[in-house]
């Protein structure tokens, strides 16, 4: 009864347009007031304690690092290098755009940011050399989702915090799937280019490539610092994020000189705004998770499912369906925060590796970003190209099939995700 109230009121408030954070909070507070004995003071304390989560501190730092490097200059250099490397292939400019999205994803933890940074430059470029606008947009909308799969990734930090898994492992686990998905998209473009006879770019000399790589290198070093530092045990993911933010500041202001020092407070404020928005949702989601756990709901679901003798892959199929549907209506962070506390205990009980589940989550969230009505990447692409939303949806559809195929592969072959973290950190005990 109390749980029915919790879910019905949550869904009703969400549907009416109350902000996600307050919907989670109010549904939880009312459930506690009506059916349980916790005081409001103890709920306020629970809310407050969220900020003690050291992992969550990584969120503002990674957002800050990303924002310093999201200025046009860094994206432009990555694009130049990508075009010089693979532009001569059939469909070269589109393949290079995917490569640029992959490179940019390694400094940014957000998908829409990747679409904006890369898309606002390359879509027009592709159209100029003879690609259709729908082809160009479709590629970017989907390749941009790599922003949350290739580390650093805000979605992964949120998942790690709410399930108490290791951010470092999760980041490492995203590397191979990220490269693989990029490769899948490139192969799909290559095939399409062969059929449609899409243009190639002139070949670039190795010397020129090397020069462009050196120009893009300062941005790319960020991922080396983050992954290398975490892997080498030099610092925790949160410290890595802070170091990355300081590094990105130095790179943007003093090395590339893309950003004037007077603009720094604005970058700080922008980053703080997004971080606070996320943290407000997270703190309320912890209240929600608290109410669920007090009512033993996750444990109950885990018991029912283990008793039903559901195979792990059956369960993962259910997870995929739930997340794909949710992805149509909500953003990655709220979905992770609402569903992970419910689904995670069952997954662990069925013997699914928490890190593998994390990657399955992230890939589902990527698809959610490109499916209507609330696919954020679609809106962003429509915003930067001026096309109507519906044509963007149609344009991204063929590439969405690549993402869906990839989701199946990642769901049923855990080794793709687990290979690298297990190799580097050893198997978890």
């Amino acid at each position: 009864m109390n749980i029915a109230f919790l879910f019905v009121s949550l869904l009703a408030m969400l549907a009416l347009g109350l902000p996600v954070a307050m919907s989670l909070g109010l549904a939880s507070v009312l459930t506690v007031l009506f059916f349980e004995s916790d005081s409001l003071a103890s709920l306020a304390l629970k809310f407050f304690q969220t900020m003690e989560h050291f992992t969550l501190l990584a969120i503002p730092f990674f957002i800050l690092a990303g924002n310093f490097l999201t200025t046009g200059g860094v994206a432009k250099r990555m694009i130049n290098f990508a075009i010089a490397s693979v532009g001569h292939l059939p469909g070269g400019l589109a393949i290079a755009s995917v490569l640029a999205c992959m490179l940019f994803a390694a400094v940014s933890g957000s998908s829409p940011a990747t679409v904006v940074a890369i898309g606002s430059i390359v879509i027009a470029g592709m159209v100029r050399v003879g690609y259709t606008q729908s082809f160009a947009t479709g590629v970017i909308v989907n390749a941009g989702t790599l922003g949350i799969l290739i580390p650093p990734s805000i979605t992964m930090v949120v998942f790690a915090a709410v399930t108490e898994t290791s951010v470092g492992r999760l980041f490492m686990a995203g590397v191979v799937p990220g490269l693989l998905l990029g490769l899948c998209l490139m192969v799909a473009i290559y095939i399409a280019a062969r059929i449609k006879k899409l243009p190639r770019q002139p070949k670039t000399s190795w010397g020129e490539r090397l020069r462009l790589l050196r120009e893009a290198l300062w941005g790319l070093l960020l991922i080396v610092i983050v992954l290398g530092g975490i892997y080498g045990g030099v610092f925790t993911p949160t410290e890595a994020a802070a170091v990355a933010a300081v590094y990105a500041f130095v790179a943007a202001v003093f090395i590339y000189r893309d950003l004037h020092i007077a603009e720094v407070p604005k970058v700080l404020l922008d980053s703080a705004r997004v971080s606070v928005m996320l943290m407000f949702i997270i703190a309320n989601a912890f209240l929600f998770a608290h109410v669920l756990t007090t009512a033993q709901i996750p444990q109950e679901i885990a018991r029912i499912i283990t008793e039903a003798n559901l195979a792990p892959w059956h369960f993962l199929l259910v997870v995929n369906i739930i997340l794909l549907i949710a992805g149509n209506f909500m953003d990655p962070a709220p979905i992770v925060l609402i569903t992970a506390p419910i689904l995670f205990p069952t997954a662990v009980k069925l013997g699914i590796d928490p890190i593998h589940l994390g990657i399955v989550y992230v890939v589902n969230m990527e698809i959610g970003l490109v499916t209507p009505p609330v696919g954020l990447n679609l809106f962003v692409a429509s915003g930067i190209t001026g096309q109507p939303l519906l044509s963007v949806v149609r344009a991204s559809l063929p590439w969405l099939m690549v993402l869906l195929g990839f989701l199946i592969v990642v769901t049923y072959i855990p080794e793709i995700s687990l290979f690298l973290p297990n190799l580097l950190f050893g198997k978890p005990i």
Binding site: L16, G17, P19, F61
Partner: protein
């Protein structure tokens, strides 16, 4: 500069400053550990409280700049009148939430005020460091009342949610940051 603008400037400066200080503190900690094999023992606790202040003061700021996200797919289907009615209802839910949380926060703060102990590594009483908790909800309450006024006078159609897509592409289209309190419709 009007009083309102001054308050906004202070609010924004405060938020940007806290994030900057947190970042530098964490960075310095790493440098000290590797460069000088030492560390600041108050760094972790300071960051925790700084983060709390950032978030709590930021919540009401996010209402002002329309940064809180929500699901508006259903509400968009409604006509303007129904939308406004839903908006007023949703706003009252938001205010209910804020009042309940503010009450809980004051109750919690009163508890630690009575106990009156200092934080572990910082020589300041915990109740002073935790003042941001009720303060944040009080500010939120004020911002929500302002939004209520805007809905009442017809400046807003309903609850003001973020438009993330517009937010993300603002650097490309050179839109200024939408500020709910200055938007003229």
């Amino acid at each position: 500069m009007s009083l309102r603008e001054a308050v906004h400037r202070i609010e924004e400066g405060f938020i940007a400053l806290i994030l900057g200080v947190m970042t530098v503190l964490t960075f310095v900690q790493v440098v000290l550990r590797y460069g000088f094999s030492t560390g600041l023992d108050w760094q972790l606790e300071s960051n925790y409280y700084l983060f709390s202040w950032l978030v709590m003061i930021g919540i009401s700021y996010c209402v002002r700049v329309r940064a809180h996200i929500g699901v508006d797919a259903a509400v968009r289907l409604l006509g303007p009148r129904a939308r406004r009615a839903v908006g007023i209802f949703v706003l009252s839910l938001a205010i209910l939430y804020t009042v309940l949380m503010a009450y809980g926060s004051f109750a919690y703060l009163y508890r630690i005020y009575i106990i009156n102990v200092e934080a572990e590594d910082i020589p300041i009483a915990t109740w002073k460091l935790s003042l941001c908790l009720p303060l944040g909800f009080v500010f939120l309450f004020i911002r929500l009342l302002e939004m209520g006024w805007r809905i009442f006078t017809g400046q807003s159609e309903g609850y003001e949610l973020a438009d993330e897509a517009r937010e993300a592409v603002k650097d490309v289209t050179h839109d200024d940051m939408p500020d709910a309190t200055t938007v003229q419709r």
